[in-house]
Every structure is written in C-alpha cells, then in structure tokens.
C-alpha cells in the first residue's frame, strides 16, 4: 500500500514521525537503541558468579553473572535491551529469538555463561545508520502484527531465514521455517507477506 494513494495508520504515524521531528537526526521510532557499555571488571565476583564478555550489537560488555542467569534475562535486565521478549520462557513460542554468531536461537534456553565471547544480535541491532532493516520496514508496510509482542522474535527469525540459502523461497517453506514463532493475535498472513516482500532487499537473500 503506497503512502500517497491510501494512507493507513502505520504510514500516517510514520510520516508524522518524520515531519514533526525533522530537526532530529532520525525519527523517534528508528532512533538507535544501543546498550551503554557495561564493565563489571572492578566489581568483585560474588559466590557463584562468573565473568563473561558478550558482544551485543557490536558493543562489548563485561559482566559478572550468576551461573544460572539466562541470556534473555541478562540482555533485558542488565543491558536494558528489552526489545527481545520473554513469552513462554520454555522455547515454545519464539518471542525471545535472537542471533548468536549469526544463527537464530531461543535465548530463553541459553545460559549467559555459555555465551562468553559470542556475538549476539538482537532486534535493537538490526537498524543501520538510523534506517530500519528491510525486514523491519516490510513488517511496518504490511502491518505484520497486532499487539506486537512476538514481533521482534518474528523479525529475528525472518532475517535469519532470508539469509539462509538452504530454506526454500516458496510460501510453504517460509511458513515451515517460521513455525517456531507463535503469534497469539494470528497475524501470520501479513507476516508471511512481509517476509516475502523483503526477499531480495536483504543482502545474501535468495
């Protein structure tokens, strides 16, 4: 749906965002959210804690974390990167999906200490230079959500799928590959349309 012909709620918000905030370097909704670097090196390790380094969205953090801290919780609670959502917390819904060294995984079933030295990309790390990632843009254009809670997980899975040449480009292959992301609102039709429209705009996508 093009903005000039038939403005919808999303494109309206988008254009308002751009015009009213013209003085800012970027519209509010694409303002980069970067976690302030955390460095726990000066803090002494408490019993049961381990010191790890996580490279999150290109930023290195040195953290003292308990052995049982879950990666999802460390990102949300220690780094305030709350874009990654906690849904079922048992690997069943996909809301917590992010990329570890480029591979999509459930962060709720990952111990932070297991990821010492790993490169992690969250939804906050997809935008580049104030511009949304093509898959984020496509979700916006296709209204591929209702409540939005599952959206960051959906997008992280979609980005990985579009970068994976082993996953077919037909609708049924995409549906199958996306089946680990549950949308309680049932926005699947628009999610599929968004992913397919982003194909070709993602570097490396087939």
């Amino acid at each position: 749906m093009s903005d000039s012909i038939s403005p919808n709620r999303r494109s309206f918000l988008k254009s308002v965002g751009v015009s009213s905030l013209a003085v800012a370097s970027a519209p509010v909704w694409v303002q980069a959210i970067q976690a302030a670097p955390v460095d726990d090196t000066q803090q002494s390790l408490q019993p049961g804690e381990q010191r790890i380094t996580l490279k999150v969205n290109g930023q290195a953090h040195t953290l003292n974390v308990p052995a049982n801290a879950i990666l999802l919780d460390v990102l949300r609670d220690r780094l305030q990167l709350t874009g990654t959502k906690k849904g079922c917390d048992h690997g069943q819904c996909g809301a917590c999906t992010l990329h570890v060294n480029g591979t999509a995984v459930n962060s709720c079933l990952s111990l932070a200490v297991s990821h010492d030295g790993d490169e992690i990309t969250t939804i906050e790390g997809l935008e580049k230079d104030g511009k949304l990632h093509p898959v984020q843009e496509a979700f916006w254009e296709h209204d591929a959500y209702q409540c939005g809670y599952c959206t960051s997980g959906q997008i992280m899975s979609a980005v990985a799928i579009l970068n994976d040449p082993s996953i077919g480009s037909d609708d049924s292959s995409v549906r199958e590959a996306m089946s680990g992301n549950i949308c309680r609102c049932g926005a699947y039709k628009n999610i599929l349309a968004a992913i397919q429209s982003a194909r070709g705009k993602v570097k490396g996508a087939s």
């Binding site: 049982n68 879950i70 459930n106 079933l109 200490v113 297991s114 549906r175 590959a177 089946s179 680990g180």
Partner: protein, 329 residues
Amino acid sequence: MRSFQFDRAASTEQALKAGQSNQAMYLAGGTTLLDLVKLDVMQPERLVDINRVGLNRLERQDDGSVRIGALVTNTTLAQDNYIVQAYPVLSQALLAGATTQLRNKATTAGNVMQRVRCHYFRDNVSPCNKRKPGSGCSAIEGDHRSVHAVLGTSQHCIAMHPSDMCVAMAAIGATVHVQGPKGERTIDFLDFHLRPGDTPEREHALAPGELITYITLAPPLANSLSGYLKLRDRASYQFALASSAIIVQLQGDRITDARIALGGVGTKPWRAHEAEQSLRGQPANDETFRRAAQLALQGATPYRHNAYKIPLAQQAIVRNLQTLTGGVA
C-alpha cells in the same frame, strides 16, 4: 531457577573429570535440560558445558558410514549434503522435529538424551514413576491421548519417546560411542534406550558420568530408497502421534530388503524387525504393506485415549511404503 555450579570444559577429558561429581549433568544445546531445570524436574548440582570440547565434526568414513560428533547440531546434520543424499530418512526426520531455532541449538547427543513429553512428568506435582520411583503413573488413568505409547509400555510408565531423529537412526542402524570413568565403550543404538519396565526412571544405558562422544551410522543400504512420514495434530512444530522411518531396497517390483522404525507409538524408538522380515522377497503392493503394518503393531497395548494410534501407525507404514515404491503395484 535453582542454582548450580557451572564448568565449561575445553576438552572431553576435562568434561569427564567434572562430570564425575555427584548430580553433575552435561550441558549441550540445553533445549531439554534448561527447560526441565526451570521446571525443577531436573535438579543438577553442577552443569558441565561441553559445547566447546570439539565434538562437532561430521565425518564420512571409507565404508560410506558417517561418524557424527555429539555436538553436531540438528540443523547441520539435516542439511549436510551427504546425509541428504545417502540418508534421506534422517534428514527428513530431523526437519520434521521441533523448530528452526530449536534445531539450531539442539545437538545429536542431546536429541538422543531428550526426556519424555508426558505432562505428568513435566508438571513436577503429579505422581510419576519416572520422576519419583514408586509414586505411581498418572498417565495410565489420566490423559494420554497424544504423547503416550502403545508399544513397550509397562504398568509403571506409558510415556512415548518423543524424538524423530532417533526413529530414523533406529531404522538406519547406529552405534553410540561413549567415554566414561572406566574408559571408552560402544552401545548398539537399539540397546541405548530402555523400555520402562519396572524401572521407568532408567531411560538409557549410560552409566553415571558417561558422556556420548559420537554416533556412527551404519553404511547406507545399497540402492535403497528411504523416507520419514510423520503424522501429527498440526503440520509443523508438533510431536508425532505416529511416524515411520522406512528404508526399502527394490529389485523390479520386488522388495529385497527393508528397515522399519516407528515413532510416536513406542516408549523408545521402535524398530519393527518382524515387519521388515515380512517384506523381504515380496512384491511391492498394498497387501504386502498391510501385512507388514499389522505385524509391526502386533504386540501393541491400547489405552483409553490412544487406541487410535494403532491404525494410525499402520497407516504411517503403508503410506510411507506406497510413496517410496511409487504407489500401488
């Protein structure tokens, strides 16, 4: 979640050393273990992370067989070119299981070690002989429609083995290589998982502290066709109600050899030897297929809500054979 000591092993030797302490468990992909630790169903005192011990290689051997490192992920195994070409049934079974994200994390050994999906086992409250030996089985008189077995059950436990990958491996034939305090040994894949019997808390043949290092697949059956057919409540991301892994060797319209294993219906990955035997030398037609299907489920015990699994598993065999052999002869 409970607290535990955490060690990351840099080598198999380090892992084995740390793994000897009381209530230590090896952590691979974590998709079962961390799930069940959160539910407090599994209660480790110590987790030994084996993700960086270097057991993540997939090696083709001279005889055409494959040695799969314990830490090879389900995604890597399913997408490997040689596996796709020589063991289609394994690739298909892997891709029929779980989700993209879970397969990216889940490992070969972890898949073998996954626990049952029985809700009474997982709820950590109901009587469950697997969780608390002697407390009783809530599933037998309770709800047992989808994730409970009809083959290999006992009066103490009827939970089905949930893996798809293991069903394919049971059909192919495989060897589990383990290392432990007493050195190395191998276990035939079909002997690895145990029927519940009187000891449902014992699910596998590993001794305390033992670690799976590799799984070796038998060489592929020459000139064979193979496939995995999984029947379930929805088309993706669901455990099998019944599934079949079948490898069949044809000469003209005659079956010269076959391997059949079943999922969704057994308390362990279920190899159907008698059914296979009935196929050998027979024409590839519906009559042959139906007889094999009948034999495969001969000893099945139906429970109140899952008797449908018997005809369903039979159909999973017949249809898989029909597809593999190119329809009704």
